[in-house]
Symmetry: C2
Subunit: 325 residues, 2 copies
């Protein structure tokens, strides 16, 4: 849709030839029972980002898509992340980001995390990989703060590390990568708006101890199921008694999507991040396609527009496409 492209090219001196392009993947945060601690990276969709070192101080943003996102770096997710990186990096003064987003903002599959994580990883390549992945997570979390007011890392960590990640702790930051068996992921994005900040606001600040116990039993089961490659245990553990009962009321068709997907053979699934996307895990590609049909049927019947993705878990996270690593 070239007619919708937002091109606000700042007046910059030509880049010094140094540029790094990346594909930054969508992610599914929470993975049903692991609110704020678990996330996984998807092979599709991915944002296309390019970062260049420039002489002009500050961060300069060029959007090459139809989303009309802010270009003031403080109000832009990638911008805030790059500003945090630039703040620590005394030997360069300016960065230019060219962004083409394929992950729709507000879809609930880590659009802001892809922008923030991809940008800082690309910048780090230009800096000779001087920052650790953990430091990149810290920079990128500044982008999440712009997006939803909270510095959470459950999308950023899988985006940067790939695979399935556990944020054991935010303060101090402690990220653990979890092995898992092959998993196919079906995502449906109903075209309704659920703002992350609203989805956070409706949560109760207190939970019943008995519910918390049930939840942490499931989290322990899910982590064990992933590492032990036990599909049955993964399936039994994909239950959320705390967040889903509250948030799912914001998503029309949620219960039916879940029921029909499981009937179609899905291991289980739920709200992706804060929604409105819903994701389901399956053991094989064929089942993941059947799940897609089951999902489509629900939103066709409801007359709500939607997008679907049928993909797998992305093991490497943000991928450098140029220069080739």
């Amino acid at each position: 849709m070239p007619d919708m492209i937002t091109q606000r090219v700042p007046t910059l001196s030509p880049a010094g030839g140094a540029g790094c392009s990346v594909l930054s993947p969508a992610t599914v945060a929470n993975i049903v029972c692991g609110f704020d601690i678990l996330g996984l990276a998807l092979n599709e969709p991915c944002d296309e980002l390019k970062v260049e070192i420039v002489d002009e101080p500050g961060v300069h943003i060029i959007n090459e898509d139809e989303f009309d996102l802010p270009t003031e770096p403080e109000r832009n997710v990638s911008g805030a992340a790059l500003l945090a990186l630039l703040d620590e990096t005394k030997d360069i003064h300016g960065l230019r980001l060219t962004s083409k987003k394929n992950i729709k903002p507000g879809s609930g599959i880590g659009s802001s995390a892809a922008s923030a994580a991809g940008a800082v990883l690309a910048a780090n390549v230009l800096l000779g990989n001087r920052y650790s992945k953990e430091e990149l997570v810290r920079f990128a979390m500044n982008g999440e703060k712009v997006a939803c007011g909270v510095k959470h890392a459950d999308n950023i960590a899988p985006c940067l590390y790939g695979g399935i990640t556990l944020i054991r702790s935010i303060l101090p930051l402690d990220i653990v990568t979890l092995d898992a068996p092959p998993l196919h992921v079906t995502v449906v994005h109903p075209q309704i708006e659920v703002r992350t900040s609203d989805a956070r606001q409706i949560l109760k600040q207190q939970v019943q101890l008995k519910d918390a116990i049930r939840q942490w039993g499931n989290i322990a089961g899910l982590v064990a199921g992933f590492i032990k490659h036990d599909y049955d245990l993964i399936s039994r553990s994909l239950e959320d008694v705390i967040i889903e009962p509250i948030r799912s009321i914001l998503i029309p068709g949620f219960d039916e999507v879940k029921r029909n997907s499981k009937e179609a053979g899905a291991l289980g699934g739920g709200i992706s991040g804060s929604g409105p996307s819903i994701f389901m895990l399956s053991k094989d590609a064929e089942t993941a396609k059947s799940v897609e049909s089951a999902m489509k049927e629900v939103f066709e019947k409801l007359g709500i527009a939607y997008h679907t993705h049928v993909t797998t878990i992305n093991k490497e996270g943000v991928k450098v496409t140029k220069p080739q690593p």
Copy 2:
């Protein structure tokens, strides 16, 4: 202490020769952050139990120790568990249990679970192992109900399965065994009374969502650390922000024991079950002995009598000693 032995031998016909003796191990429930879902079995101490099939209907209990536990089966932990088993078992009418407890009741290292689990496992051997381990857990949970009013399984499961166990769910019952690296366990039992029912009562029925999130991050980390044999991750994850801050006030010297044990090299630890015992995990036997010294010092200073155990994780659970399996 033969002068203290309680011998209330019921008038029974001689046993038909069928008898099974077992060693039933102490266990540590919760493992710091896994309240009501995690537990591990110890190689020491163990109760010595013998079960025989007898003609007289019902359960008949002989105590061969100094603890003066009730012999009415409905009020006895082993008795209640055996009654539940007998209720399902139509081809035998009576069981006699001879019990010599080495795990002090009320110590917080699964004394009641050892009584209940050991008794039903021994009975099951006499019945040709007709019941699964999961069914034995169900029978034994009736014993826990006698002991503390709640049918919990976080001591019974490790006692029967050995190693480290996860109770993902009680209803339906879902027990998962977790692999772990070699671990040495130091336990100190200060001779003060903390009733399990009291320790449950002081807990708040509501918890802050932010605390629950921190807790389930630690649980996920602990499970991953065990299965991945990652001692550092185990150590970082041994943190309880929900139960320990409340229950530890019932245990004099708790904070000092914890601090000094970690200074002595322990990976971490906390209250065993509902206390008053405190346990610490270490990577090697030498450290576990240093931790014991650190614990002793605290209770010597406080002038509180104590027992200690330095042991390892029991991989097999209840052990049949006669007939040899």
